[in-house]
């Protein structure tokens, strides 16, 4: 693919990362926070694969991206189980209500 620079892929990754961080910090819905985490992990994946194409990183980048995808699936499963338990106990998914451990 001629004419598309590494920089452009890194910029797309930056936009994904920033949107994910904003999502994680500003959403009050617990599932929304999870979706933000997925966006951040996907931004890291995009950077890894772009570097594996344009630099001597080689296959390492793609394999690390695969590991990240699998770990993201595991993370989503555990976080969803925690969210369901929280919903069963508190009858809400609002993360601002999870303040029982506040000092």
């Amino acid at each position: 693919m001629e004419g598309v620079d590494l920089k452009l892929f890194l910029l797309v990754g930056a936009v994904l990362f920033v949107c994910g961080v904003i999502c994680m910090t500003s959403k009050r819905n617990g599932i929304g926070v999870l979706i933000g985490v997925e966006l951040v992990l996907n931004a890291a994946n995009l950077n890894f694969v772009a570097f594996s194409r344009y630099t001597p990183l080689g296959l390492d980048g793609q394999i690390i991206a695969l590991f990240v995808i699998v770990l993201a699936a595991a993370e989503a499963a555990v976080a969803l189980a925690i969210a369901l338990n929280f919903y069963n106990n508190h009858l809400t998914i609002d993360v601002d209500r999870a303040d029982e451990l506040r000092g």
């Binding site: 598309v4 793609q62 699936a73």
Partner: protein, 206 residues
Amino acid sequence: MNGGQVLFGIFALLTCGGAVAVALTQNVVRMAFWLIVSLGSASGLFFLLHADFVGATQLLIYVGGTVVLLIFGVMLTTSGPFLRISSSPGELMQSAVVGVLFIAMFFFTVWSVDWQAVADTTRAHDAAAATVALQNDTTGRSIGMAFLGPRPDRDLGADASRGLSTGYFLPFEIISIHLLVVLIGAAYLARAKRQQTAVEIGGDAE
């Protein structure tokens, strides 16, 4: 302007637009939908980078698995008033300012680095660096070999200090066991509570 650039433009626009829409919308069901758009277009970017196996895995596991899991979470926890939990306007303004500053920093950083020089320096210092021949090929078979141990893209004998194989057999095994353990744990965590309360209620009734 060739086909690759046009495809990159479309996929990059969809990826960024989906991500921005996820961050902006307050409705959790729409967030899940825009997440599907964003992740699917990101897999298109992977295909453009000749990472066909990673792109297919992204479609299968992320879009087909993780997002379905999230949508199940939405369906199980979203009843009436919880469909949209809005943040206050002050919080939204704060996060918008922080986001704009953040992204300005990233743009400045990415533009100010000469990435071609970085790649050349790495290639000069690492004798076993990946060869260029990989770049014009699809990588499905090479990834399979790298998971088993041998590395088709590197000359591992060129650097004597590197030692044994740098394949990914052991990490692959560890991560598969890790995934199995985590999924069993998550299933247990998600259903243990209700069973317990059912037993308690049954005990009270007697």
